[in-house]
């Protein structure tokens, strides 16, 4: 019975991904931005990467690799005060700078709205949160503004009221939905500085209102998109957040994905994260252009929603066999791998625009430090190294996901389940992994890899 269901599911998934893989093969000759000539054709890289992921999955399944979640107790400590307060000041200055530029109007290469929100937060903070620890806990300007407001009101003698009970049925869905809105702003609306200013002010007002309504920490952990996303990525990090005061505890990198507590909204959020990065890569390929041209906002919204829907559906199809926690544990490392593969260069190159911004902080044509004419450059980044890092990030993320998915699936498997059944149950997860590996590497390869001219 189970085997039949699994075969049908696996066949469906394999068919879907097979279809997706045929498309790249048909158009591998097209490149949008050819920068790296490799002796090996892209197909060799794809086959190698897919095989590596498949073999790593086979290895952990056949060997039935097990591991324990990191202990939930142990020594914890607050990061040093200069770091905590420094990050808070940096977060607040960043927020105030965006607002000041928004009020002053205009746009330029020194726009800090796009720089801070898309480059430093969406990419930089996400990577640090996933690798090191919960820096957003202190950087978060919304919480800092809340605390400053609360202190101000207390100072003038105004008392607060008891926060309302948060509707449990909402779970973390508000944060997941808000995350999807930000994804749309980034990938479809292509929100520039003026739009981002309006969004930031509106989102700040909304967040502060919700914090007042339900309590700062409750809304932060359930409804604030950045916090929810960065904390989810933080399951991978070497330092885990112990409580809302910011205490952290050391643990092995990646071990946090084995911890319990996965909920549907979390898996959806990770699927959105993985799907949005993948969509961003695919939408810049020649195949996408050939199929859809340069779609307008409505069409691109439909495409994005459809693509994210497919990824979420695939994720929940997998949850039916291995469970919610194993799916989350399998997908989260992939999200980090994709972040690094797709956006690390964006962070390293476009992040240099801060040099322009400090010379002209309000976009008035100033050149305070003589750096306003600086042009960000990636000339120091060898494209061969970039491709290698992308390859390692994608394959490494999938391998870690294979390990985490299997370990959690094995731990949460029904007692008495036979070895063969347990292996079959994990097959859909493996198929999704291999398909995603190939698809994302293909999209990355379109932008950077070309075969040498014959």
């Amino acid at each position: 019975m189970i085997a039949d269901r699994l075969r049908r599911l696996a066949a469906g998934l394999a068919g879907a991904f097979g279809l997706a893989l045929i498309l790249p093969a048909a158009a591998a000759a097209h490149t949008l931005n050819a920068t790296y000539e490799s002796r090996l054709p892209l197909a060799v890289y794809l086959v190698g990467a897919a095989t590596t992921v498949a073999l790593s999955f086979a290895f952990v399944i056949v060997r039935d690799v097990r591991a324990a979640a990191p202990p939930a107790t142990g020594a914890s400590h607050l990061p040093p005060a200069p770091i905590r307060h420094g990050l808070r000041v940096v977060g607040l200055i960043g927020w105030a700078w965006i607002v000041a530029q928004g009020i002053a109007g205009g746009s330029s290469d020194g726009s800090v709205a796009t720089l801070f929100l898309w480059v430093y937060s969406w990419v930089g903070v996400a990577i640090v949160s996933a690798v090191v620890g919960p820096i957003w806990q202190f950087l978060d300007p919304f919480s800092t503004l809340h605390d400053l407001g609360a202190a101000l009101f207390r100072h003038v003698g105004l008392a607060g009221w008891e926060p309302a009970n948060y509707p449990e049925r909402l779970g973390r869905w508000p944060a997941t939905i808000a995350f999807a809105v930000f994804v749309w702003l980034e990938l479809v609306a292509l929100a520039g500085p003026s739009t981002l200013f309006v969004v930031l002010v509106g989102y700040t007002a909304f967040t502060l209102a919700m914090m007042a309504q339900f309590g700062r920490d409750t809304w932060r952990s359930h409804g604030e998109a950045f916090t929810a996303w960065f904390r989810l990525l933080g399951r991978l990090a070497m330092f885990t957040l112990v409580d809302e005061t910011g205490r952290v505890r050391r643990r092995s990198f990646g071990s946090g994905i084995l911890e319990p507590g996965w909920i549907r909204a979390d898996v959806t959020l990770v699927a959105f994260g993985v799907g949005s990065i993948l969509f961003d890569g695919l939408s810049q390929t020649q195949v996408f252009f050939d199929l859809f041209g340069a779609p307008g906002m409505l069409m691109k919204t439909v495409l994005l929603a459809g693509f994210l829907g497919i990824i979420v559906l695939a994720a929940f199809a997998v949850t039916r066999t291995v469970g919610l926690a194993a799916t989350g544990a399998g997908l989260l490392p992939i999200a980090l791998g994709y972040l690094l593969a797709h956006y690390l260069t964006y962070l390293l190159i476009d992040g240099q625009r801060i040099v322009i911004a400090i010379s002209d902080p309000l976009q008035k044509g100033w050149n305070l430090f003589g750096t306003a004419f600086y042009v960000p450059t990636g000339a120091w980044l060898p494209s061969g190294l970039v491709w290698t890092l992308q390859l390692a990030a994608v394959v490494g993320g999938h391998m870690l996901g294979a390990w985490g998915g299997h370990v959690v699936a094995a731990e949460s498997a029904a007692p008495g389940l036979g070895t063969r059944s347990m292996r079959l149950l994990q097959l859909p997860l493996a198929v999704v992994m291999v398909g995603l590996t190939t698809l994302t590497l293909w999209s990355l390869g379109q932008a950077i890899l070309v075969n040498p001219a014959s």
């Binding site: 609360a150 003026s194 476009d350 976009q363 390859l391």
Partner: protein, 206 residues
């Protein structure tokens, strides 16, 4: 848990949410840039020693207050500042004497009516007074990165969408050689081996 005393009562909650959503749904404003249409001399040009201007930059849209351009010599000193004709969308350097031989940059800043700001550099060089074929060759300028990549509306807007690769900035393609091919494979194998080693160790009974 303390909470900010904002005047948000339960029955006003829906209105607050609606107001915020309305703000978020505001139409995305289109931005306009005043881009450099042409320059005289053109970027990368080598002009004769007798060149005494004028230097003219022409832009695509009317220029707002704050638009400016400076002529900067090889030593970084400002040689002259342009006169801006806002309606004609031009910046003009009227030189009183011939420029000394050497490399020059025109660093311009245009501000459009809606405040959108662009910067760019036009590079040119003035040949030596008694040019010879050899001397002329040696004064051929190398266009600066900024000059070959003038900021544009597209460049500014691209910021909103992270590129999937550094292709936009990494302009030169690097050819593959033996090590280029081997390196990715070796790294992938090392990652695979490290992962396998780690998992085997974790799986080994204590």
């Amino acid at each position: 848990m303390s909470s900010i005393v904002l005047i948000v009562r339960r029955h006003r909650f829906a209105r607050v949410v609606a107001a915020v959503l309305l703000v978020l749904l505001l139409p995305i404003s289109a931005s306009a840039h005043s881009e450099l249409k042409s320059s005289d001399p053109v970027d990368g040009a080598s002009v004769p020693s007798s060149f005494s201007g004028p230097i003219v930059l022409t832009f695509s849209e009317a220029l707002a207050d704050g638009s400016k351009a400076d002529l900067v010599g090889a030593d970084g000193s400002t040689v002259a500042s342009a006169t801006v004709d806002a309606t004609a969308a031009t910046m003009t350097f009227t030189l009183t004497a011939a420029l000394a031989p050497g490399a020059y940059q025109v660093k311009w800043t245009s501000i459009a009516g809606d405040g959108d700001l662009l910067r760019g550099i036009v590079s040119f060089s003035v040949a030596a007074a008694t040019p010879s074929p050899t001397a002329e060759a040696s004064t051929t300028p190398e266009p600066s990165t900024a000059a070959t990549n003038p900021p544009s509306a597209a460049a500014t807007d691209e910021v909103a969408t992270p590129p999937a690769s550094p292709a936009a900035s990494t302009e030169t393609s690097s050819s593959g050689n033996g090590s280029d091919v081997i390196l990715p494979i070796v790294i992938v194998l090392i990652v695979a081996a490290a992962g396998a080693f780690y998992l085997v160790r974790r799986n080994r009974p204590a």
